[in-house]
Symmetry: C2
Subunit: 241 residues, 2 copies
């Protein structure tokens, strides 16, 4: 499984998960029960948390950091399916009745992850009211997002798609700085290309152009949106101009 992290010996604190949507409104005892079946692992930047095609025997919750979910074609081309933010469930193949992970999960930065064996799934569903519903809402939400993406790819130009992707990134993982909102984890031109179905060259050209217009400020593996409003205008303007 490419487990690079070391295991924390128990001592998991309720407060880690108490205010996550998946465990909303639970008593302290219930939270302890949830944590009993879990273990916490660290994963170094760029290490796999699980790999596409591997037996899906665990499910996960990201406590801190950012995770990149990646799929690879038989020909070796990659695409980034999504980024996982803190507090989100991921790798929940079991909820979809899948025996193997359909994608790989890679730590975009050093991460802390809660990990349950699949055998705990049933228990969580039974003992945590609303857990199942939250999990399925997660999946439903991702289905929607993915369909939105298909739609974008069908109807929008590359420039609009990249603008939309950046806006989504700053909304989900933005950190305010003096210059604007910065994406909270290292992200390359190549990464953005793999999110939008284009090439790193085109992304680079777009970012350069936007930089000279004062819409973004970017560097190595780093993007800051300095003028979100203008970027929205770029994202929304119709193909016919």
């Amino acid at each position: 499984m490419g487990q690079t992290g070391r295991i924390f010996m128990s001592g998991l604190d309720r407060s880690l998960i108490a205010d996550l949507p998946a465990f909303a409104g639970m008593t302290g005892e219930a939270l302890d029960l949830v944590l009993q079946g879990a273990r916490s692992t660290r994963h170094a930047k760029n290490s796999d948390i699980f790999a596409e095609g591997g037996i899906a025997d665990h499910f996960f919750l990201l406590l801190s950091g950012h995770v990149r979910v990646v799929r690879t074609t038989p020909e070796g081309e990659q695409m980034i399916a999504r980024y996982i933010n803190e507090g989100e469930l991921f790798g929940i193949a079991i909820a979809m009745g899948l025996a193997v992970y359909p994608a790989s999960a890679v730590a975009a930065v050093d991460c802390v992850v809660l990990t349950w064996p699949n055998s705990e799934w049933q228990k969580l569903q039974e003992t945590v009211p609303g857990f199942g519903a939250a999990a399925y809402r997660t999946i439903g939400g991702r289905l929607q997002e993915t369909q939105n993406r298909v739609m974008e790819m069908s109807t929008e130009q590359v420039e609009q798609r990249v603008a939309h992707a950046l806006l989504r990134l700053v909304n989900q993982a933005g950190r305010k700085t003096e210059n604007g909102v910065e994406i909270d984890f290292p992200i390359s031109r190549q990464d953005i290309a793999e999110m939008t179905g284009t090439t790193l060259h085109t992304v680079s050209r777009l970012l350069s152009a936007w930089e000279s217009e004062g819409v973004v400020a970017s560097g190595r593996q780093k993007v800051t949106v300095t003028d979100p409003h203008r970027l929205m205008l770029i994202a929304e303007r119709r193909a016919g101009r």
Copy 2:
């Protein structure tokens, strides 16, 4: 809701649903219970079964016919999210925690549909062992399919995408004829374009070319794949040729 069908007065027969995966292994009594909460409606070709943005107060199962699931951009461009085949659940917004339908469902041919109010969802989950799991497997499967589609759109040329789409259609809704496998419902060049993110013109050109190579035979709203093997070769050949 644009309900164009008329309602069948009870008399729903167990045999309608007995061998569907969603109701596998159920007793006769349980099946009756399931049907008790449902009603059966007919929907004329091209009529809406539900509309994008409408209150999602029911969920559905297609008994016979074919349903097109369509999303529309604010600018009025359409895309076909998927086709529903006989025996499949659809419009299960409730399973994803959605209050409104994220897409429209249109009868591609005259259809017969089982319809439940959302209030029955809970009951079905409790009384039908495996029903919930089947529903979530359905959603999980669709998430996968949709991600596959994103991947195709990112990495494949139009020709390969259209070929893949046709192969999927004949696999899921193919009917053997003397000349090959025919797609079982009326489908236009425009429809295929909306499934693959291209234009009807390009689809028309591709089908014409394939027709002259003897790979497909097509007419008005009708496509027959005469040489599936060759079409697979077209679908799989890499961009670099």
